[in-house]
Symmetry: C2
Subunit: 561 residues, 2 copies
C-alpha cells in the first residue's frame, strides 16, 4: 500500500487536469451535431448516435457489484471509475457508465457519488450540484403530473378518481422529512380538493425509473403514459394516458433523456446518466447511456446499487433483460472491513485486525458468488484496500479465493488511480477472453409474482420462502385480475443483510421474506415488493453538511465531499 | 399595415436563422473564458466581465413600460425585442435585457415570455422550458432552506422558533393551487414538527428577488443571509444567517447568478436573466444582466412588469436606485384596445372601432405620462398595432399626442420585426440625443413607510390617501422598532387599474389604497405592501395548455405558445 497522504475528494477533483469536453467527444468520434456542451466540461449526447451506430458491434459489458456493505459502502463507484482508468492505461478503449447523484444526501450527510480519491469523475462539484439539470427536469415533470391530477379533481373529476386513492406523490430532490406525510388543498374551494399526500425524494419517482429504462423518445412517452397515478371510486386504475399528460411530461424530459458525458481524473470518458433508487426501483444508470457506451467503447464498466442481492440481481433481471444487454463479466467488490462485520465485529472496531472474524464473514461473499454464477456469469473478486487493512487479512482473503479457484485482485484505485487497478483489469480481460459469460435472467416473466419472489428468496437471498401481508395478498389478486402479474419484480429490502432483517449479517438461512405491500410501476415495467421499512424521503441529520458549504471568492466550492 | 399571414410564435421561432451563440459572444468581444455554452444557442456570461469593463462607459438605458393593460397584455416584451432589433438595423449596437419566464403559466394558459411574432428571442422553446436551469436552482435553494428550517425545529429548535410563525414558504415553479395551504410533518415524531405551510410559485420566492438585485456573489450571500424566515416565541425575527444557511444557498445559486445570453430572430444579443414577480417583488430582469448589457452595448432596451404604475415605478424606485442605473428614455406602450377598455368598452367588443371610447380612455395614458415625467424622464408613446385597429383610431391617438407635443410612434414589430420599429427607434434616439433625462427616484428612503406609500398614491396612482388594516398598522410599529422602515416599498396591487380595485378603469381619483398586510423582504431590501387579493400561487385552468404539448419524432416541440 502506497502511504502517500492524499487530499479530500474535492481537493483532488479541483486539481484535475480536465480536457475540454469537445476533446473527449472527439476521442469518441462524435460529430459536432451529436453532442451539446453544458459548460466547458460537460456535454449531452444525442440519442441519434444509437441510430447511426445501430449496426456497429457492441463493446464488452463489465458489471461492478459488491457484498452486503457497511454503512460507508464498499467503494463500488470508486472501483468502477478506477477499473475504467486501468483498462485505458492498458490500451483498451474503455468507457464508464455511472448513475448521477441526488442533491438531497449531499446536503445531508456529506458524500456525493463521483467515486473517490484518485478514481473520480469530474467536474465533481458540478456533478454533485445541478449537473445538466436532469433531476430538476424529473422533479418538474413529477410535480406537473401532481398538479394535473389535483386540477382534474378540482375541475369536475370526470375520470371519477377517488381522492383517497391517489398513489402518485409529489417530489423534491432534498432530504425533507416534514414532507413525508402532508395534507393539501386546505383553505376552501378555491384551493382545490382536500386530501392526504406526501413527497418522495426525486430519485424515488417512477419517472426516474422510466427515464432509466426507456429505449428512446417514443418508448419514454409510452412508459410515461402507462404510469398508474390513482384509482377510481370503482377500483379501476387511472393512468397518465387517461389524463392525457404523457406529451407534456415527454416534452419536459426530452433533454434529460440524452446521456451526459464527462471524464475521469485520467480523462477516461464517463457517461453519467440517471439515478433511480436502488430499493423501490432498480438502481442502475440509464439503459440509453449503457447502450451508447457499448457502441462507443470496446469495454464498458458499469455498476448497480447496493450488494449483488439487490443491485446486480435487478441489473440482470430487469435492466439487462429489458434492454437486451449481455454482460460478459462481473466484479464483486469486497472490503476486509465488511467481511469482518459479517464475521461479527462491531462497527467501531472494523479498523482493527481480526482474521478470525474475517474468516467467518467470507460466507457472505460466497453467497454473492453463487448468485452471480446462477446468472451464468464469470466473476472476479476485487478487494478494495483501506489503509487500515493488514497484510494477514489480505493474505487470508487471497488464499481463501485461491483455494476455491476464484479469481481475485486487489484494488488500490482510491490511492493510486488507474495504476492501482491494472491487476484487476487484467483479471477482467482474462475472464472476457475465455468467453465464459452465458447471461440468463433468473426467472421467467411468465411466472407469477409469488413464484418470482420465491426464486429470488431461495436462489439469491438464501432464505426459505416468502410471506405476504393481507394487504399484499389482496394486491396480488388485483394484479392477476389486471394482467400485471407478468411484470418483473423489484424487491425493496435492506442492503445490509441478505434477508429483510438488517441485523442478520453473514449468510443467514431458513428465513422468510415478509412482503408488506406492493408498489405498482407500470411505466418502469415492474412491481416493487416492499419489505421492512422502506424510506423514500430521507431526513437531514442534526448538523446538515449544507451548513459547511460555501463558494470562495475565486469561485471554488468548499464543503462538498 | 402589412397584411401578410404570419404563423404562430413557435412556428416562427422554429424557422429562425439562429447564429451559434459563440458568434453572438464574439460580436460582444467576449473572451472564451467569459462565456459558457449551454447547448449551441444559449450561454451563461461570467460576472467577471463587469470587473474587466468597470472603467468602460455605460450605454444608454431605455425602459419599456405601458398603460394599465388588458388581460392579454400590451405587448411590452414584443416592443422591447422589436425596438432592440430596430436599433440594430439603424446601425446601433443594441442589447435587449429581459426577464426569463416561469414554467407554471406556460403549462397553464398558453403563452411564454419571449416576445411575439417577428420580435421574439430564441430558442423560444428552450427559454420557455428549463432554459439554463436558473429557476430550478432557485426552487432548490428555496426548498433547501425550508428543509433546514423544519430540520432545525425537529432537532431541538435551539433558536426558539415559533412553528406557527415560520414565514418562509416552499416553492414549485408550477401552477398548483392545492399546495397554497397545506399541513406538513404529519405521521408522528419521525416526520418532524407538525405545522401549517404553503407553496408559492418559484418566481414569487424572495430568492428570485434577491438574485435579481444582487450586485455580485458576496452581495448575494449577504442578502440571502438577511432574509427573514420566521419569528421566535419572544417575537424576534430569525434570519437565514441565524441558521447558517447562506453559504449553501449561495453555492446552489452561483451559476444562476451569471446572466444568460441568447439572441432575437434578427440575431440581436439578448440578456435574459431573472424573473421576479411583479406584485410582491419588483418585476424586472436582474441588475447584473442590465449592468452587463450597459457595458457591452451602446443602447440597452429593457422592460418592467405590468403598467407604469407598478413596473416602471419599481424599476425606478427600487432597481435603478439600488443599482445606480440612470435610464435615459422611457417607451410607454399603449394599444387602441386597452385605451377603448379604459373608455368603457367591454372586453369582447375591443376588436371593433369606437373612437369616442378611445378618446375617453386617453386619460389612463395621460396619468402614466405624468408619472414618467415625475421621475424626470423623457418618453415616447408607442402604439402597438393590432390587425383590428382602424385608421381613425390611430389617427385619433396620433393627433391627441401631437396636440400635447408628446412624441408618438407606431410599432409594427410583431408583424414586421425590427423594420416595423424603426420609426419608434428614431424617436427614442432623438430623445436621448436631447439629453432630457434627469432621473430621480420619487421618494427618499429616509421617509417612513407611510410617507412613501402616500407619495406613491398621490403622485403615481392618482388617489388621495392610504389606509392600513389593524394587522398592517401593528406591522408598521414593528418595522419602526426594528429599523426596517428605511427600506424601499414594493406595492402589490392589481395591474388593471391605477387604484387597488381592478374594476376602476380609466383614471380614477379620490380613492384610498387599502394595505391589508406587509411582507418583509429584507434580503431584497424592500417591504411589500399587499393590497387586494395577491395570489402567489396560480391555479391551472379547466383545460391546461400542458395537455396539448408534445415532442415530434424529429425533436420539434408542439403546443408551446
Amino acid at each position: 500500500m502506497v502511504e502517500k497522504r492524499i487530499g479530500s475528494d474535492i481537493e483532488i477533483a479541483q486539481q484535475a487536469a480536465m480536457k475540454p469536453i469537445g476533446e473527449i467527444a472527439a476521442q469518441l468520434s462524435l460529430s459536432e451535431q451529436e453532442w451539446m456542451p453544458y459548460g466547458h466540461y460537460k456535454a449531452k449526447l444525442s440519442i441519434d448516435i444509437l441510430e447511426r451506430l445501430k449496426d456497429a458491434p457492441d463493446g464488452q459489458l463489465i458489471l461492478v457489484t459488491s457484498i452486503n456493505p457497511t454503512p460507508a459502502g464498499e467503494g463500488k463507484s470508486t472501483v468502477t471509475v478506477g477499473l475504467g482508468q486501468a483498462l485505458n492505461r492498458l490500451g483498451k478503449r474503455a468507457i464508464i457508465a455511472l448513475r448521477e447523484p441526488s442533491l438531497g444526501p449531499n446536503m445531508g450527510l456529506k458524500g456525493g457519488a463521483a467515486g473517490g480519491g484518485y478514481s473520480q469523475v469530474v467536474p465533481m462539484d458540478e456533478l454533485n450540484l445541478h449537473f445538466t439539470g436532469d433531476i430538476h427536469a424529473i422533479t418538474t415533470a413529477n410535480n406537473l403530473l401532481s398538479a394535473l391530477i389535483d386540477n382534474h379533481l378540482h375541475q369536475g373529476n370526470a375520470l371519477g378518481i377517488d381522492p383517497r386513492r391517489v398513489v402518485w406523490k409529489r417530489a423534491v430532490d432534498l432530504n425533507d422529512r416534514a414532507l413525508r406525510q402532508i395534507t393539501i388543498g386546505l383553505g376552501g374551494p378555491a384551493n382545490g380538493i382536500l386530501r392526504e399526500d406526501g413527497f418522495q425524494i426525486t430519485v424515488a419517482s417512477e419517472i426516474m425509473a422510466v427515464l432509466c429504462l426507456a429505449n428512446g423518445l417514443d418508448d419514454l412517452r409510452e412508459r410515461l403514459g402507462r404510469m398508474v397515478v390513482a384509482w377510481t371510486w370503482d377500483q379501476r386504475p387511472v393512468q397518465v394516458s387517461d389524463l392525457g399528460a404523457q406529451g407534456a411530461l415527454t416534452l419536459l424530459l426530452k433533454d434529460a433523456l440524452n446521456p451526459n458525458l464527462i471524464q475521469t481524473l485520467e480523462n477516461t470518458p464517463a457517461l453519467v446518466h440517471g439515478g433511480p433508487f436502488a430499493n423501490i426501483a432498480h438502481g442502475c444508470n440509464s439503459l440509453l447511456a449503457t447502450r451508447m457506451a457499448l457502441k462507443l467503447g470496446d469495454y464498458v464498466v458499469t455498476e448497480a446499487g447496493f450488494g449483488a442481492d439487490l443491485g446486480a440481481e435487478k441489473f440482470l433481471d430487469i435492466k439487462a433483460r429489458m434492454g437486451g444487454l449481455s454482460p460478459k463479466a462481473v466484479v464483486i467488490v469486497a472490503t476486509a472491513r465488511a467481511l469482518k462485520m459479517h464475521g461479527g465485529v462491531a462497527r467501531d472496531q472494523l479498523g482493527y485486525e481480526d482474521v478470525e472474524a474475517l474468516a467467518r464473514g467470507m460466507e457472505n461473499l460466497e453467497k454473492h458468488i453463487e448468485t452471480i454464477k446462477a446468472f451464468g456469469l464469470p466473476f472476479v473478486v476485487a478487494i478494495n484496500r483501506f489503509t487500515s487493512d493488514t497484510e494477514d487479512e489480505l493474505a487470508f482473503i487471497n488464499s481463501w479465493c485461491d483455494a476455491r479457484d476464484y479469481p481475485v485482485a486487489e484494488s488500490r484505485v482510491w490511492s493510486e488511480g488507474g495504476a492501482g487497478g491494472e491487476t484487476l483489469a487484467k483479471e477482467v480481460l482474462a475472464l472476457i477472453k475465455q468467453h465464459k459469460g452465458h447471461y440468463r435472467p433468473l426467472y421467467d416473466t411468465a411466472a407469477s409474482i409469488e413464484d418470482k419472489l420465491q426464486t429470488l428468496v431461495t436462489r439469491v437471498y438464501g432464505g426459505k420462502g416468502v410471506e405476504f401481508s393481507s394487504k399484499a395478498a389482496k394486491q396480488l389478486a388485483d394484479f392477476k385480475r389486471l394482467g400485471w402479474d407478468r411484470l418483473c419484480v423489484c424487491v425493496a429490502k435492506t442492503q445490509y443483510s441478505l434477508s429483510d432483517d438488517p441485523t442478520l449479517l453473514g449468510r443467514p438461512s431458513d428465513f422468510v421474506l415478509h412482503v408488506r405491500e406492493f408498489q405498482v410501476s407500470l411505466g418502469a415495467g415492474f412491481i416493487a415488493a416492499l419489505t421492512g421499512n422502506v424510506m423514500t424521503m430521507p431526513g437531514l441529520p442534526k448538523r446538515p453538511a449544507a451548513l459547511d458549504m460555501d463558494v470562495l471568492p475565486d469561485g471554488r466550492v468548499t464543503g462538498l465531499f
